[in-house]
Subunit: 197 residues, 2 copies
């Protein structure tokens, strides 16, 4: 009988969620089957249900844990006594690092949230909308300060967030530049596109 291996402070459920992130990233939520997931975990499909309620629950966990991390970060950054452009840069660096280090979860949260079911779906969409508005507000402030070019702030947010999701391609590419170089390049281009010269 093959047991799910756990280490200290990592529940069997956590193991499943982590493997699910990798699988959902690779195949997409719909195309990834519970039998696929079971195989990745090293167990039969039915056994998964001793630890989780449903396939969608896995998606909930992934989407909301990622969303919460970003919400906490923007809370923190908004409160700091620094320039708007510095706030934007800090937020971007956080996004970049999250995408570099927790790539699978972040990617899944970004691409597969459509498959959430209500009420989680509306909830997630709301959080997302609010987050983007707060991000846009920081940029708007920077425009008023003349730190940032006169641009449409929501469009800028949209560009920043989607640009960062391109790190997915970096992960899959064979000849990667280092993570640090990637971060600096992205900041150079994105912040460089915003600042008022």
């Amino acid at each position: 009988m093959a047991r799910i291996k756990t280490e200290k402070n990592i529940s069997r459920k956590d193991v499943i969620v982590t493997k699910a992130a990798a699988l959902f990233r690779e195949k997409g939520f719909k195309a990834a089957s519970m039998r696929d997931l079971a195989e990745a975990v090293g167990v039969e499909a039915a056994s998964l249900y001793n630890h989780i309620k449903s396939k969608t629950e896995l998606l909930h966990e992934l989407c909301f844990s990622v969303a919460n991390r970003f919400l906490h970060k923007i809370d923190e950054i908004e409160a700091e006594p620094i320039s708007s452009i510095a706030k934007v840069e800090k937020l971007l660096r956080f996004h970049i690092n999250e995408m570099i280090m927790h790539y699978e979860e972040v990617y899944v949260s970004d691409r597969e949230w459509k498959h959430l079911a209500d009420p989680y779906l509306s909830n997630f969409q709301n959080q997302r909308r609010i987050y983007r508005k707060r991000f846009a507000a920081i940029i708007e402030k920077g425009i008023q300060n003349k730190e940032i070019k006169k641009i449409d702030a929501p469009t800028a947010v949209l560009i920043m967030l989607h640009a960062i999701s391109g790190i997915e391609s970096w992960h899959r590419s064979t000849q990667k530049i280092s993570a640090a170089e990637l971060e600096e390049n992205m900041i150079t281009i994105l912040v460089g596109g915003l600042v008022n010269h």
Copy 2:
């Protein structure tokens, strides 16, 4: 008996492909069923097979028609006697307009190509890789000319392409700025992030 309505020069297959693009965009390729598609077309699922060979064929058509449009455009732009930064701008404007006007096809091609089956899959990935390299080469040339900042060209390409895919959010947003404004904002930020001041 409900027939698929066609207009002049539009085959029934074209009608199906177009509806498929909308459906695949909305639900994702895997989650969109042939019965969904049939309903959107106004016909029974089995009837679709009088016009198409398979569900995947729909994806082929969408992915490759989009890819071909971009390849033709980059052919054209490479040959023009203009500065590197002007080439980048032209290419970006093309991407932006494609995403604005043929949003559903472009989006599907971008997000759902993973579900292609070999040999189409490898083929598509190759075309994509080559396209990005050609795009990167234009940027690289601009860096040598000192028109463009010293950045990692592949990373810049990645940012540009993904940033543009953010237009999807613009499409779904309720209070949109105009398409023309969107284009100018994106060019301002993205080209502004590249040019060497």
